[in-house]
Amino acid sequence: MPALEFSESAEKQFLNILSRYPEGHRRAALLPTLHLAQKEFGYMSVDAMEYVATRLELPPSKVLHVATFYTMYNKSRVGQRHVQVCKSISCAVMKAYSLVEYLEDKLGVVAGETTADGKFTLSEVECLAVCGYAPALQCNDDYHIHLGQPAEDGSWPKVDALLQEWGWEA
């Protein structure tokens, strides 16, 4: 048996997910179940994937296939706040790369890393599908758009405000 198990509320959600699909088509519930598992266990650990496979009665290899295909399933542990900066074309034109560099400076990590206190993970991601509102970033499930442009001193006021809201301390 895998070491993990859904909590009571996650179990309820899981049963709800299952109820959306016809009997005998548990495989269809794979994507939402993986999201649930990610919320529950933090990231797609081997144990988490194995647990999902057991619950959905699938070969573990098929769970690995799907979990590794989609980048929104995290393959390693992320911080409490997962800051994902869009770097696709519209955002890139609006200086998203400078934004990434700014956040790297502020948080003291390189994109893809987590801060030492485990509070923030910074990632670059592909298109967040809000090209009209660039530059944009996503923090956990929330979108933050129209992040403006850097001030003369290179700082990003709107981003500073966000960081403050998230309880970031210099």
Binding site: V46, P59, P60, S61, V63, L64, H65, T68, F69
Partner: protein, 523 residues
């Protein structure tokens, strides 16, 4: 019955036939990687794109079913251009390391490249590199750079073995074949994925770097690992068998064979008896025949024919067994026949049979019903009771395990005479007064009858290396001549004809389903 036109030729096909199959029937080879007749059709490699008139785009021939009046072109300019383009895509990140690739020489990518692409790379960026030797399991090594992600191996594990070990991970140019972390590609048929792989991505740990494939010569043979008798390509170089590959046979093994079967080639070269011996001294065949004849005559006079037991080997071919029976009955005059061979092992519900001998049904068919050889345990019993004083054994295998096996070996020590006529020595060689080395199935022609009664002929692949080993039937004929009761065989084909006649006669009397059916003569 839709009728279609392929490259100007009309053909009637059954409903559901694909364009690729219809084209193959007309003799047009549509190049393909991911399509395999025994697996599902994902149409992911795009190599088999063909032009169907009235369809706007090119269609995958492997997946498109023939419809009435369809007009197909598989070799026109547009199709050839598409193949070139597909190959260019496939080769974007391919390392082109053919000189160190085991697949070179039997690689579909290599062949198609020369047929359709044959241009230098136009790519000006650095290729994506990946791990070159990733062990997927105990038998198979994966090279991510060479992989074209056709997923044949994945589908084999899903659909044929049902073990689901393999999958594609990641996406885009990071995609690779992997197992779930902590699990191996470890099933009884895992090496089939090496045959399935159209490129050099999956290689067999056993065969890796052992021999270039263009040096191999191939003979149609039969696997001797169990009573299934899978048809194989027995591939050899320099008088040594290098590997076995399954040979398509819809009546026996289709496209597959088990891993254990693939390793049976090893014992073809292990522990071989190379020279006729009497009391440890080496002789030529004429000398040994004369001396053996003398010893046998002496024994017959001393202990009587009924104290001589003859063990028939289900490892031997039907032809050899046919002459062996004549030798035992007509020349030695003994009717005490026993069944030798290897002890039973594990079987499964696919190909692997619990009986680890290729020709048990062949032995049975050499005898009329009611006079078939007694089980080996009976021999053990008869040895214990002392009613047997001399033993003529075909094959050195002992179908006993544990204490019974030890008991047998120690009882053999006390015999007046043990003649061992076998390709390998084993634990009995030390106790045999006379040793007559014989050929393995790779070194002779013959016939095996499998567990379902299918008779298959196998051809000679190699000559025994630095060895005087002879065909079993030639040894019997030689001894019979010296014993004054000549067996009338000089040519294999006469012997084979007589053998099949006898086999048919013996099976004709059968009335129950338990007996193997009369096999058709092997072509």
């Amino acid at each position: 019955m839709p009728t279609c036109t392929i490259n100007g030729q009309k053909i009637d096909v059954d409903r559901g036939t694909t364009v690729l199959q219809a084209a193959a029937e007309l003799g047009f080879d549509v190049p393909h990687f991911c399509y395999h007749p025994a697996l599902s059709i994902p149409a992911n490699c795009r190599m088999c794109l063909v032009e169907v008139e009235k369809a706007r785009k090119l269609l995958p021939a492997c997946y498109t079913q023939v419809t009435e009046g369809m007009v197909v072109h598989t070799e026109n300019e547009r199709v050839v251009q598409a193949r070139r383009a597909v190959l260019e895509f496939i080769l974007v990140n391919h390392p082109v390391d053919c000189p160190i690739c085991d697949q070179a020489g039997e690689c579909k990518l290599q062949d198609y490249y020369l047929d359709y692409d044959a241009q230098s790379s136009r790519q000006r960026t650095i290729k994506v590199t990946k791990i070159k030797a990733f062990p997927l399991g105990p038998e198979v090594v994966y090279d991510g750079e060479r992989c074209i992600l056709c997923t044949r191996c994945v589908r084999f594990c899903d659909e044929v073995t049902g073990t689901n070990e393999l999958t594609v991970v990641e996406r885009g140019d990071r995609s690779a074949i992997r197992t779930f972390p902590g699990r191996d590609l470890d099933n009884a048929y895992s090496m089939c994925v090496v045959d399935l792989c159209p490129v050099g991505a999956l290689t067999s740990r056993d065969f890796r770097f052992k021999c270039r494939v263009w040096l191999l010569q191939s003979a149609d043979s039969v696997c001797t690992g169990c009573a299934r008798d899978c048809s194989v390509h027995l591939e050899h170089h320099d008088a040594e068998v290098q590997r076995l590959r399954p040979r398509y046979n819809p009546e026996v093994n289709e496209y597959w064979m088990c891993d254990a079967g693939r390793y049976t080639y090893r014992e073809l070269h292990e522990d071989r008896l190379t020279s006729p011996l009497i009391n440890g001294a080496s002789y030529t065949w004429p000398q040994v025949a004369e001396k053996t004849a003398d010893i046998l005559t002496e024994t017959v006079q001393g202990v009587g024919t009924e104290s001589i037991a003859f063990v028939f080997s289900p490892q031997a071919s039907c032809e050899d067994l046919f002459v062996a029976r004549k030798f035992a009955e007509e020349v030695l005059g003994t009717s005490r026949h026993y069944m030798g061979g290897k002890p039973d092992g594990q079987g499964d519900d696919f190909l692997i049979h619990a009986d680890k001998n290729p020709n048990r049904n062949g032995v049975k068919l050499m005898f009329p019903r009611g006079s078939r050889p007694a089980p080996f345990t009976k021999l053990l019993h008869d040895l214990e009771s002392g009613s047997i004083r001399a033993l003529y054994m075909m094959g050195s295998d002992i179908p006993l395990v544990g204490e019974q096996r030890q008991a047998f070996v120690s009882l053999v020590e006390n015999l007046d005479l043990l003649v061992l006529q076998a390709p390998r020595g084993g634990e009995l060689a030390a106790h045999a007064k006379i040793i007559l080395p014989t050929r393995t199935h790779a070194e002779k022609e013959g016939t095996f009858v499998n567990c379902d009664g299918v008779a298959q002929g196998f051809g000679k692949a190699i000559d025994p290396k630095r060895s005087a080993a002879q065909d079993d039937w030639r040894v019997f004929v030689r001894l019979a001549q010296k014993l004054g009761a000549a067996l009338p065989y000089a040519f294999f084909k006469d012997l084979r004809a007589d053998m099949f006649a006898a086999m048919e006669a013996n099976s004709r009397k059968t009335d129950t389903a338990a007996a193997p059916e009369a096999p058709a003569p092997a072509g």
